[in-house]
Symmetry: C2
Subunit: 364 residues, 2 copies
């Protein structure tokens, strides 16, 4: 049976001041009316019922997630007591699934990306799940065709074509390849080589496998991690909170890419037939939201004079007026405002760092 | 006896969103901790006691003024029922003064300029008052030595030197000249000629005269206005409010420059020995407030990265962060934020106009 695990642990400092420690990117309505997490859950309609959706997130976010997704069953949120990267989180989810359904197939996906059309996404997840059903030890990853030499994504090098799977929602048959190699975030010149080579994909962090397969892989490649996870899984209801707290904290945090994908032999890559955007920064609003005639992406109340190429975000009652402004990001929140040159946007991380250093935690 | 009339009627749309219909420029603390009006009153300490200070302002502002100046006697505010420019307002004040003190000497000054040092200002007003005492029909104006060919001020052309008055607070003797001619705001090329000629001053809107002198001038040059003002002055307490409302509204609004200064023959100009700034726009903050090493004039909570030549205004609890910003004005208020290129600042007037057109009066 197909289960979906949504990874909602990201902290997303790039969207400060809209994003905060307790309100990370995935909980913001950055693109449409729904938050990125809500849109991710909406996208599953018809693919897996809510009883088979698990959301993994830091314990601090549980209340906010429950509020955004009131239809989710109470035990649908897997609370991580601390940040330990993706591998322990995926392992914990897999253990939870196999307990009730030893043959559980597990689709893992981030909570903070924009994907469309939803039907094409569902079709490709379904195809991957069927593939795993047929060849149970397969690990299916999704590769995004790169549109520029990005330094901010990991890459997957594809090998030979394994299959073309007929599609209905997608325009063309789905293409499945051997995944020859996983590559970490490259330098620009390397990224350019990947782009020119034509057989590299961005790693979207979307995976489909049997839960038991990934547990076996973790047991093999990360035995200590697996042992800690086992202790958590075996705890009874009374001792679960303390065991989780202790054992999860004892795990060395590592990504699923590093722990498994770079080492496993049975990995295939499905070329994503859907549109994908990681919503990496405020600049993405210019791509993902409707823009006005001057190229401004605006949310909330705004009046612009001689304003172009800007990203403006306010609320419905706070008026932002811009005069003679180009390529600038303006984000108003009740207690903090950001005004940033688009080309300096990377520095937002430094802002958040400096706020922490100064002890201005009320803005974090 | 010297009385001071402070003209506090300006609406100052250039400081939106900090300035509003009910909170014009003179009621804002733009430069120091005190508002411009408070600083204007503070400056009079030792020159005239509060019982001899009159503040002329639109009726709508009376409460706010009273709040800012709690030590002022209750009848110190002369409320204008509508906007009629400076001449009717000055006439009304003069009538009020001569009623109790027929020999009243009247110093008239704006409420929204920055002047320093205060002692030099007081010394020059005192000198002008003494001059008027000696030669009772004199009209004394103050001329500011122009520092650039401004198109936004009226000019006074000086004629022959009449006197050098010994000074203590000022560095040099005060110089008094015949005022040869008043000139309205010139075009740039004309302003350049004035600057080059060397005998033109900016008209600072500061005047000293006997109250009776200005009333006589108004009676002669603006007989209809004078008649309306007389009716107001002659009203008894019971009929005063209705009379003021009716008669003041019936006056054709005109400036004192146009009504009197350009026509009168007995005008002299005192070269201002004090520093003067009209605080004409947000840009003035860069001149009038301390700036940081990157030339930013900052009020309120701010963090700047790669930020220079900016004017930033926030409150003590709302954080404004700027990244990669130059020559930009950022003004945060609880319900509106302005982000403007310094060189587009003139457009603020258009913003205010457009807000009115759209009926967004909550921001005006």
């Amino acid at each position: 049976m197909l289960h979906v695990v949504i990874m909602a642990g990201g902290s997303g400092t790039r969207f400060w001041p809209a994003s905060r420690d307790d309100l990370p990117k995935q909980l913001l309505a950055l693109v449409g009316e729904r938050t990125l997490l809500q849109a991710t859950v909406d996208r599953l309609a018809g693919l897996a019922p809510v009883e088979r959706v698990l959301i993994a997130a830091n314990a601090r976010l549980v209340d906010a997630i429950r509020e955004q997704l009131p239809d989710l069953p109470a035990d649908a949120i897997l609370a991580e007591p601390c940040k330990r990267d993706t591998a322990p989180c995926i392992g914990l989810a897999a253990l939870k699934l196999v307990r009730n359904d030893p043959d559980a197939i597990m689709a893992v996906m981030p909570s903070d990306h924009v994907i469309s059309p939803d039907a094409v996404f569902r079709e490709s997840i379904r195809a991957a799940a069927e593939l795993v059903e047929l060849t149970p030890d397969r690990i299916v990853t999704f590769g995004i065709k790169p549109s520029y030499p990005a330094e901010i994504f990991g890459y997957i090098e594809r090998g030979e074509l394994l299959a073309e799977i007929p599609a209905r929602a997608a325009d063309a048959p789905l293409r499945l390849y051997v995944a020859r190699q996983f590559r970490e975030k490259p330098k620009l010149n390397v990224a350019r080589q990947y782009l020119a080579a034509g057989n590299f994909y961005w790693n979207a962090g979307i995976f489909v496998w049997r839960a038991q397969t990934i547990l076996d892989s973790l047991a093999r490649h990360e035995p200590q991690m697996h042992a800690h996870l086992q202790k958590i899984a075996q705890a009874d209801a009374a001792s679960y909170p303390a065991t989780l707290e202790r054992e999860f904290a004892a795990i060395r945090g590592v990504s699923i890419d590093y722990a498994v994908m770079e080492r496993a032999k049975n990995v295939v890559v499905l070329e994503a037939p859907f549109g994908w955007d990681d919503v990496g920064s405020w600049q993405a609003m210019g791509r993902l939201r409707p823009v006005d005639a001057e190229g401004n992406a605006v949310t909330g109340k705004h009046l612009g004079f001689n304003t172009r190429g800007c990203v403006i975000r306010s609320t419905d009652d706070h008026l932002v007026v811009t005069l003679g402004l180009a390529d600038t990001i303006v984000v108003h929140t009740p207690d903090a405002t950001l005004v940033a040159n688009k080309h300096d946007e990377e520095s937002i991380r430094q802002v958040v760092k400096l706020l922490a250093e100064r002890g201005w935690t009320e803005y974090l």
